[in-house]
Symmetry: C2
Subunit: 206 residues, 2 copies
């Protein structure tokens, strides 16, 4: 399969969002132009993005909402559920845990870890916060696909090394640090400080 750019994948996620919304409101059909307007891009971009994976539209009509929903879900790998573990039961971890949209999209948090004895053992939903030492065993036992790292920056690389060693291939990192992972592991960073600084730059240079 051809190499698909990260921007294209991001936009597919966005299209999915609008399609779901539209589907809920019973809209049957949508044009590349409508999708584009909602996503702040152009109709040509939408069509090009989709064209990497096939031709899902009907000329003169647009795209069938349920059909395109199904196709994009399939492309992104969302027709199955994904088993997620959360490392770090602090404020951010807790906010992520109760973030309903994860579940709605098929990302199920199956394990939570922390080092703090105060937190270990606490009930989170139908889970209990597990101690750090049980991480490797639980990652394998629960067949975790994706790990979310929500620990302080100093601890993040250590956690990631262990997680990678335990066979996990995808990591979402919230710690403000650039992690090293082998090329076989996918890593995404959510760095709120970088975003704020981008805004500061934008205001400052005007």
């Amino acid at each position: 399969m051809k190499k698909i750019s990260e921007s294209t994948v991001r936009r597919l996620s966005l299209y999915l969002l609008f399609l779901q919304e539209g589907g809920d409101r019973g809209i049957e059909t949508i044009s590349s132009d409508e999708l584009a307007q909602r996503g702040g891009t152009t109709s040509a971009q939408v069509r090009k993005d989709l064209s990497f994976f096939g031709s899902f539209g009907k000329r003169g009509l647009g795209y069938s909402v349920p059909e395109l929903l199904r196709q994009i879900r399939e492309i992104l790998g969302l027709s199955r559920t994904w088993r997620v573990a959360l490392v770090g039961a602090g404020k951010i971890g807790s906010a992520l845990f109760s973030y309903r949209d994860f579940q709605r999209r098929g990302f199920l948090i199956r394990a939570v870890f922390d080092t703090d004895p105060e937190k270990v053992g606490a009930s989170w939903g139908d889970l209990r916060v597990l101690p750090d030492e049980e991480m490797e065993a639980a990652l394998r036992g629960e067949e975790i696909d994706i790990v979310i790292v929500a620990v302080p920056a100093e601890a993040a690389q250590g956690v990631v090394d262990r997680v990678v060693h335990a066979g996990v291939r995808a990591i979402l990192n919230f710690a403000p640090i650039r992690l090293r992972v082998p090329p076989s592991v996918s890593l995404r960073n959510v760095d709120m400080t970088v975003e704020l600084e981008g805004l500061a730059y934008a205001i400052h240079n005007r």
Copy 2:
């Protein structure tokens, strides 16, 4: 001034992170290559990024850490502090409020708003959660530069319209929705679902 790409600005933020770390450890000088390795990029990229703003290095030697720190802070507009307001006092809002790195980088949260009567009036640090209705007045009164939106998706566009109308020029959005803002307003999105879906795509297509 020439148009600088978003990726360049993001990388500057990253360089800043490493420089701060290096500065704390008393390192005096750093080469583009060292900076590149830590940031997962190339030395040419580092030099090109910096060259948009001036020439800060010494040939044969590299960059002075304190000097480059000062320069990048100046470029990004971080030599002043920024006044931030938080709309939405839920789980995410609360996690962001206690996120120490914001303050450390000069982003000071000066106001928090919510619609929920249970939350309004609560003490958050040295602030009180203000009711929604006081938002416009407080944004102006506190001279807020940047607003962080941490409300449910359905409420986000309404909040943003009011915030923009009150004169705020920069918004960081955590709601999983694409907001419409006039071109004079800078908007960044942090969408955790998009990141997770990107990871799902990566695992799925391997």
